[in-house]
Symmetry: C2
Subunit: 309 residues, 2 copies
Amino acid sequence: MRPTPLLTACLLALGLSLPAAHAAEPTKPKYRSASEIIKASPDSDWRTPDPANLLYMELSAGRVIIELAPAFAPEHAGNIRTFAREHFWDGTSIYRSQDNFVVQFGDVDGDDPAKAKSLGSAKKHLPAEFHRAAKGLDFTVLPDSDGWAPQVGFVDGFPAARDPKKGTAWLAHCYGMVGAGRNNADDSSVGAELYVVTGQSPRQLDDNITVVGRVIKGIELLSVIPRGPEPMGFYENASERTPIKSIRLASEVPEAERTPIQLLRADSKTFADAVEARRNRIDDFYKRPAGHIDLCNVPLPARDPKAKK
Amino acid sequence: MRPTPLLTACLLALGLSLPAAHAAEPTKPKYRSASEIIKASPDSDWRTPDPANLLYMELSAGRVIIELAPAFAPEHAGNIRTFAREHFWDGTSIYRSQDNFVVQFGDVDGDDPAKAKSLGSAKKHLPAEFHRAAKGLDFTVLPDSDGWAPQVGFVDGFPAARDPKKGTAWLAHCYGMVGAGRNNADDSSVGAELYVVTGQSPRQLDDNITVVGRVIKGIELLSVIPRGPEPMGFYENASERTPIKSIRLASEVPEAERTPIQLLRADSKTFADAVEARRNRIDDFYKRPAGHIDLCNVPLPARDPKAKK
């Protein structure tokens, strides 16, 4: 089958490849796209996330999976596990969708003491967990820096930043990251009201709010949720909200109902090679390799380990 | 009305403000948020785009308005005007939606000579218009740089980049930017198949493809379009495509049917002050001003000049 020019262009734009029309020059090492590199990865470059760190958010559109980051927000992760165990979010909703920014979910009446759902046995007060000590973290530095932080890279597969002078590290607000909504006080979040980044990375929020994890599957179910009215996307009518059937810890869901998932290790050679292939695309489509990649432009691949390779 | 903590937090996160609970220190100049600055702008800081450069894309969900950038892509803008005048896009569709990347529209059969719609009197071949001479452009430099280009800023309200050594300038792939799909050859686009950025800015495409303009109103109608299957988001079934009723030049639409719109001038003091207010947010919510903003994090405000101020 001869691919259409449009398909060829699109595949190339994505770093995918078609069979070369001509043999590669023997002296030139062949450029491999990120997807080719990932496809050839050994199984040891993939990790299976701990089901005690996974949330299944069940929407009528399907399942969204969030991986918690207890290394950065242990107290919030603890409360979130309690909320999930006690079915706090069942019957709540996604009550805000602001274009090019976030969706937000939880108890829409959470700020009204007269109407708010009980927080159950979750802690009613948590410390701010904006950053932590960089020491003790396996931080994989991205070759490129940006203007938001002295260093950026990955920790446990999460996009992160680090300040070597201060000795602190924090999670970065990239697409799909999940944070804990708060009031003006640093320590005013309890992890009941969560937002998910669905737009251009709002990195100004970095180290200003507690980030609790990231969506590892199903982000496209959240990013298409119709936007609420400007400026902030809170729906005016309850009927516009997206109902949340339930949120459960994967560890509390029967094994047969769990979603098999593995994540590419950010400290693997495959990941580093894929990042480099994206930094400098040398294919028939790209005329000018960027020589650069921003933290939030690095995809964090997930796969179904049971799927046919 | 006492605002709820959640509302307060959200307003602050957006740079909006609530009345201060305490009077500001008299010696300290009061921080004004970007929205306060923009609200106080003089009318002279706004421009009315030329209707001959505006496309109205009519979807069942509403109208999307695209401003063309003839200063960067004069040949493509010329063809696009022809396509609109000759109703080329009427009855075509948005046939691709790839999460965190782009939607793409036009003639889904454009690459199949047997099925493709006639291009009418549009040119069948155009030069690549990836960049142009920087000379002669009123380029407003952003205080911050990034890793994608030696300099970034704004030209005629479009996010742009510049290479002083090469003397070239080009439009940047920020959210809402519109480009001309092409095949592998630089000069294989004619402006019939267009894409709109709906995800994290894919700046690796900068200076690699012809950017023709940007969505100035209605991007939220495009960004919520359900994603097609991976990896590229082309729908498998025609019924999943979003029909395009028509695309017209505003200049060809009766005045009574036009959408009043003005854009904040990127070379105005209001714009510069608003950018600075976002670079360094000093309010009750932000604990650590970023001291930085990325090109694609700068909103480009539009307003209805007839709306009550």
